[in-house]
Amino acid sequence: MNRAFAFSKRCFKEMIRDPLSYIFCLGFPLVMLVIMSLVNNSIPAESNVTTFRIENLTPAVAIFGQMFVMLFTSLTVSADRSGAFLMRLFATPMTGRDFSLGYILPMLVIAVLQSVITFIAGFIISLIVGSALNIGGMLVTLIVLLPSALMFVAIGFIFGTLFNEKAAPPLSSIIISLGSFMGGIWFDAEKTGGIMLTLCKCTPFFYCTKSARSAMALDFGAENFFIPLLIVTACAALLTAVSAAIFSRKMKA
């Protein structure tokens, strides 16, 4: 555990010293929050579009931000693999479990910090537009976002372990596009119906957004909150186990 903690400290320090992490993990989600708030301001009230209302937008942008943590995770792991630094560490008593924890823990910390900042920005915007966000809802949502953060970090870890520096980030970008679309971040997926809704429901991204928006609304019903949260938690657990297994296998190879 001490070895995992030492390695996670290294990963965290290297990340916060990389300007790219601020652009990917903080800058872009915050810019989207501001832009979409402006879009919402331009939508006539009678159109009944609620996706960009700050109480729906903030949790969705928090999920969107987590997808960038996935991208950054894949970049970090693939970059480490391309150099000899990991080779040096493979010749120490560090185990696959130490490496997995060492990569995942600091990324989770970054994801939580990113969500906190997103919610602070969302709260400020909500005060400006005159519909203050519920503080209790924000706090519950921050906790509800943990499984999805773990899930995205695990996906990034898998990509970073399996693919090189050139392939891992583009693959993560595909997941970001797919996740934004299927997760209903920029539109209300449930209002689409038909094959589109069925496809959305086949991905965990849909349930990430649904559970986060429900938590924000303090709607803790089974259909809107508990079942989606359960699905996201199960996916996060499965993908984390898979990512650790893949890394350990690669390490031995």
Binding site: N2, R3, R10, A84, A91, T92
Partner: protein, 241 residues
């Protein structure tokens, strides 16, 4: 007990045999050089001995511990300075050393003591708080060796430690390596004959995965009838003996 003992070691990558049934023994405190042209099997041998890859045949031991069956025990005994730059670029020199000290399992006090001791022994004081990415090639190599030494290894693998360095930086590193002689067993792979001649107690010449000659410099000179390591190496590598 030998520091390193290799018996009929073989390693294949698909159809290519990188190491072909080599056997050797290295004594404790010895500086042993592995020479060979590119693809001769030097780095593969080091990788097997440092538990980075498994052998396909034969056995390798570090201080009596089996490199395939007792990996954790072997890893606790060795340090490695790989061929490429192998430092955390966005950590400082001190942070890089502390990371390896912590991974080695030292307690907090010992970590701090080892970091300061290693900085002092390797003359890293003036760059201790600089980020690794800002260091010159020579300083990075020095840091790489320091990171291999901080865990107090009994056996140190130096895989082409001076590759790409200018003559002054290379001489500086030789001084560091010479200062460790006798205290730690070192296995050095290099393409620089002058380096092997200057530093080694014994030298093995590898050709196509096999050890073609092994001995002290004077023994290799006597075997080939040539003067100097470079001439002796060329004669052995070209199959003239």
């Amino acid at each position: 007990m030998f520091a390193v003992e290799v018996k009929e070691l073989t390693k294949k990558y698909n159809d290519k045999t990188a190491v072909d049934g080599i056997s050797l023994q290295i004594n404790e405190g010895e500086l042993f050089s592995l020479l060979g042209v590119n693809g001769a099997g030097k780095t593969t041998t080091v990788k097997v001995l440092s538990c980075l890859t498994d052998a396909d045949g034969g056995e390798a031991f570090v201080l009596g511990k089996n490199c395939s069956k007792e990996k954790d025990a072997v890893k606790a005994l060795i340090g490695i300075s790989p061929q490429e730059t192998s430092v955390a670029e966005k950590l400082t020199v001190r942070e890089n050393l502390r990371l390896i000290a912590e991974i080695s399992g030292f307690d907090k006090e010992k970590c701090s003591a080892r970091v300061e001791q290693t900085i002092s022994e390797l003359g890293l004081g003036e760059v201790a708080d600089s980020l690794a990415k800002t260091l010159s090639g020579g300083w990075k190599r020095k840091l790489s060796i320091a990171m291999a030494l901080i865990s107090e290894p009994k056996v140190l693998f130096l895989d082409e430690p001076t590759l790409g360095l200018d003559v002054l930086a290379r001489r500086e590193l030789w001084k560091v390596i010479e200062s460790l002689k006798g205290r730690i067993t070192m296995i050095l792979t290099t393409h620089y004959m002058e380096e092997a001649q200057q530093l080694s107690d014994r030298i093995a010449v590898m050709v196509s995965g096999k050890i073609k000659a092994l001995g002290t410099l004077s023994e290799l000179e006597a075997l080939t009838g040539k003067q100097g390591l470079e001439e002796a190496f060329v004669a052995i590598a070209e199959g003239s003996v």
